[in-house]
């Protein structure tokens, strides 16, 4: 008995001792706990945000973006449209790959050409869909010939990662093992397993600003509670996507710092404006043939019944901001003229009565419950707000796996979903959501509401052909204003993102695309 007790005591002490020893990390190392990691080390595999974020450490893109998603030079130092269907990119000189070879225009051409062959279901061809062919002019000049006029080609190329043309025809396995993971980025690939840790080491020959941290480990911890616990226990130095409930607690915890910023994601309500709804509306319990959402007064009434301040402060617990358009107003093509959305319940009821629904109507309302923080909570809050205006809106929060196929199949009458303008400009958003659904033109791919406005369509198509930045911006601003006034979609709130780190250890500028990049994180001067 005594022997066993001593043995147990000795074992426990040994364990405690070994863990405290291993907890002493080198001061120049950084361990980040991230919610999601890459699906492959091949940068052309997927368009997912977590993929781009992870691989921006190892590879560079042709065109970069600053923290507000506006374009800045990266591998390409300048870009101009030399005629209606050709863009010229000047390539930066003196950039070296991790294996020591020089980056030339040949590598850029190779990168663009390989995308259709190697990309996966989140297909990167949406960024190269306007590319017809790529021509190498000289070692540092590339001409991209486009199908028709592609005014937003530079925006599409902010996720165009450049790989070395010497890797040949390889796929995910060769990249994951490290054999082909040769980039030009601030960090070099050391090891990775699907869903495992991404281990990186600093690239001492980086062409840009050298990173501070020598060894970086990105641990994938998808469970929110575990990720927060990992930070609190000291396992990791920084975590992303802190849940709202933990944010509130962390603000009072002096051992942790929090960083908060707007994201690109906005929760939008989409009303189905087709002649016949998939699930009909009901008035006083009986189904009606017509679609109440077709009437602009009804859509405006529903908009006026939404109290966006309550959504931000109470439902999202402070991690939201009222939105009045589908993307941040400072993005290319956004409007600073649009008014802040009002909350006016009396006017909402008056408009409904005017439109012929004095007793309101009943509709089903679908949303996701696992895609963006607060999506289900906002959905339920909205249905309660509409109840105050006399409408019976039945909220139904669904798992994304069920929601998206049903939405694609056009099964919803009214739904809430998040949209992030990841290219920083209007045509990506309004072209997909507001333009008439036209598969041949590749526009309106995500327009499931049946909305079709020839005036807006014409403006969007003209914008795609206009190479002059100012003229194009004016056209897109018009599109924004017209579609928002017509309540094609009703934006509710901008989601904010929170990061947390150990107090007074590091600092960084939070980005609107929510990316956590080790090369942009600096230690706090002691």
């Amino acid at each position: 008995m005594l022997f066993r007790k001593n043995a147990v005591l000795a074992l426990t002490l040994a364990l405690i001792g070994s863990t405290t020893l291993s907890a002493q990390v080198m001061a120049d190392d950084l361990t980040i706990g991230v919610r999601a990691g890459p699906d492959s080390i091949d940068p052309h595999w997927s368009t997912l945000g977590s993929q781009a974020e992870s691989l921006r450490h190892i590879f560079d893109t042709l065109i970069g973006v600053d923290k507000d998603l506006q374009l800045q030079p990266a591998i390409a130092t300048s870009w101009t449209a030399i005629d209606d269907d050709t863009w010229e990119f000047k390539i930066r000189e003196g950039v070296k790959f991790h294996d020591g070879s020089d980056l030339t225009a040949e590598d850029v051409k190779f990168s663009i050409d390989r995308i259709p062959q190697v990309t996966g279901p989140m297909s990167m061809t949406i960024y190269t869909k306007s590319v017809d062919s790529v021509e190498v002019i000289d070692d540092y000049t590339v001409h991209v010939h486009t199908k028709g006029t592609a005014a937003t080609l530079p925006n599409d190329f902010i996720r165009l990662f450049v790989v070395s043309s010497e890797i040949g025809e390889v796929g995910n396995e060769e990249f994951n093992s490290g054999q082909a993971a040769i980039g030009t980025g601030p960090y070099k690939f050391v090891s990775w397993q699907p869903k495992g840790d991404l281990v990186l080491v600093r690239n001492e020959n980086y062409w840009g600003e050298p990173a501070h941290w020598e060894n970086v480990v990105r641990k994938e911890i998808p469970n929110d509670a575990s990720r927060v616990a990992a930070l609190q226990s000291g396992e990791v130095d920084l975590i992303n996507y802190v849940p709202a409930t933990d944010y509130a607690a962390m603000q009072n915890d002096s051992r942790l710092d929090t960083f908060i910023a707007d994201s690109v994601y906005i929760l939008n309500i989409t009303p189905n404006v087709k002649d016949e709804l998939p699930v009909k509306a009901k008035v006083n319990g009986a189904e009606i043939a017509e679609n109440p959402l077709k009437d602009l007064r009804v859509r405006e009434a529903m908009d006026l019944a939404i109290n966006r301040d309550i959504l931000s402060e109470v439902v999202l617990e402070g991690l939201g901001k009222p939105a009045n358009q589908l993307m941040p107003a400072t993005f290319f093509g956004g409007s600073t003229e649009l008014p802040v959305r009002e909350y006016d319940l009396e006017r909402a009821k008056a408009l409904l009565a005017e439109a012929g629904y004095p007793n309101g109507f009943e509709l089903d309302f679908a949303c996701t419950n696992n895609r963006l923080p607060g999506d289900a909570a906002v959905c339920e809050a909205l249905s309660q707000m509409w109840a105050r205006a006399g409408l019976k809106i039945n909220a139904n929060a669904l798992n994304g796996t069920v929601f998206f196929p049903a939405q694609q199949a056009g099964e919803f009458s009214l739904w809430l979903s998040g949209w992030g303008t990841l290219t920083g400009e209007a045509s990506y958003t309004y072209g997909s959501l507001v333009h008439t659904a036209d598969p041949d033109k590749g526009l309106g791919a995500f327009n499931k509401s049946g909305y079709s406005n020839p005036e807006i369509d014409a403006l969007l198509e003209e914008g795609a052909r206009t190479l002059d930045d100012d003229k194009r911006r004016a056209l897109y601003t018009q599109v924004t204003e017209l579609s928002m006034n017509d309540r094609v979609l009703i934006p509710t709130v901008i989601i904010q993102t929170v990061w947390a780190a150990k107090a007074d250890t590091l600092t960084f500028e939070p980005r609107v695309d929510q990316e956590t990049l080790a090369q942009l994180i600096q230690p706090v001067a002691q």
Binding site: S18, N172, A225, A229, A230, S233, E235
Partner: protein
């Protein structure tokens, strides 16, 4: 020999039925394309991907293509990662195996002696305490206990790490982490979390068996013979109560190994559970089918071993079989 062949035949049937169910099930939830593909893709991209993955073919044709490939040893590539499915699963299986083994051993080493004690002295205060704890063991939800363990031991006390797996070294080419004390510090909490349910079960089983055995004839005769009490309990009683315990042990090992998702998620253990739940969410059919087939084979193997153990533990079964 006929015994083995019969088992293998049964296993094959279950595997076929399982694979058909998964194919139909995935299809019933929705087209994987709608979940996997970027919603902003054009129709052209969607059509290309549908053709590439074979989703434009009727379901039974997709199934036969799959069967044809499996018979050649190719379980296909994951839709999400585009790496061979078997490589993906086997890269994470050792971690789950290690965790499940640790959990079940912990449950057995702690649970069986406690249960025997509770059965040996059923009216003692300690026995009553053991029984109360066993109820907690299988009624408390795993995720809640797991979070409590992390909060207490990792965040508050800083005694143990909050998640992940320790450093590994290879045994027969397979990486395991139980060789170093540091590795153990990572295994303890998740293994304990997983072990609780099984511990509760084994305590109650052992107690019930012991109570029954203690009133039996052979115990009375063994005592009359003058055997030490520790020999009576530790040898004779133990052997006689072991049949149900071994059965449960086998079943629980199988289900712990196959479905340790919750614990693996909370403790960020790099096992196969997290891989599976994510594959189900995105309808990554090749991974789902391959994994479930492996689970079926695992249960068949475990049942086979348990049956063989019956023969070893109980000579009466051995005799009946060869008769």
């Amino acid at each position: 020999m006929g015994f083995f062949i019969q088992r293998i035949f049964q296993a094959a049937i279950v595997v076929v039925v399982m694979s058909i169910l998964v194919f139909i099930g995935v299809y019933a939830i929705g087209n994987p394309i709608d979940v996997m593909i970027d919603p902003a893709s054009t129709q052209e991209i969607r059509d290309n991907l549908i053709r590439q993955y074979g989703f434009d073919r009727p379901l039974y044709e997709q199934y036969f293509v799959f069967v044809g490939n499996v018979l050649q040893g190719d379980f296909g590539q994951s839709f999400v990662y585009r790496v061979p499915v078997l490589d993906l699963i086997f890269s994470r299986l050792p971690a789950t195996f290690e965790l499940a083994l640790g959990a079940i051993l912990m449950a057995a080493i702690v649970g069986i002696p406690l249960g025997i004690w509770a059965g040996y002295r059923p009216r003692a205060a300690s026995s009553k305490a053991i029984m109360a704890l066993s109820i907690l063991g299988f009624s408390l939800p795993t995720f809640w206990v797991g979070l409590l363990l992390v909060l207490t031991f990792a965040v508050q006390l800083h005694w143990l790490p909050s998640g992940g797996r320790g450093p590994t070294s290879d045994l027969l080419g397979v990486p395991f982490s139980f060789f170093t004390p540091e590795g153990w510090s990572y295994i303890i909490l998740p293994a304990f979390n997983l072990a609780l349910f099984n511990m509760g079960l084994l305590i109650r089983l052992a107690r019930a068996g012991t109570i029954e055995a203690m009133s039996s004839d052979y115990v009375r005769f063994a005592r009359a013979q003058g055997l030490k009490e520790s020999k009576v309990v530790g040898l004779h009683v133990l052997k006689n109560i072991s049949i149900p315990i071994v059965t449960v042990f086998g079943l629980e090992f199988g289900s712990t190994l196959a479905f340790a998702v919750v614990t693996e998620t909370i403790f960020n253990w790099p096992g196969v559970g997290k891989l599976i739940i994510d594959s189900i969410m995105v309808l990554d059919r090749p991974v789902m089918v391959a994994y479930l087939i492996l689970v079926v084979l695992l249960f068949v193997l475990i049942n086979l071993v348990v049956d063989l153990l019956y023969g070893i533990l109980d000579p009466r079964i051995r005799a009946r079989r060869s008769a």
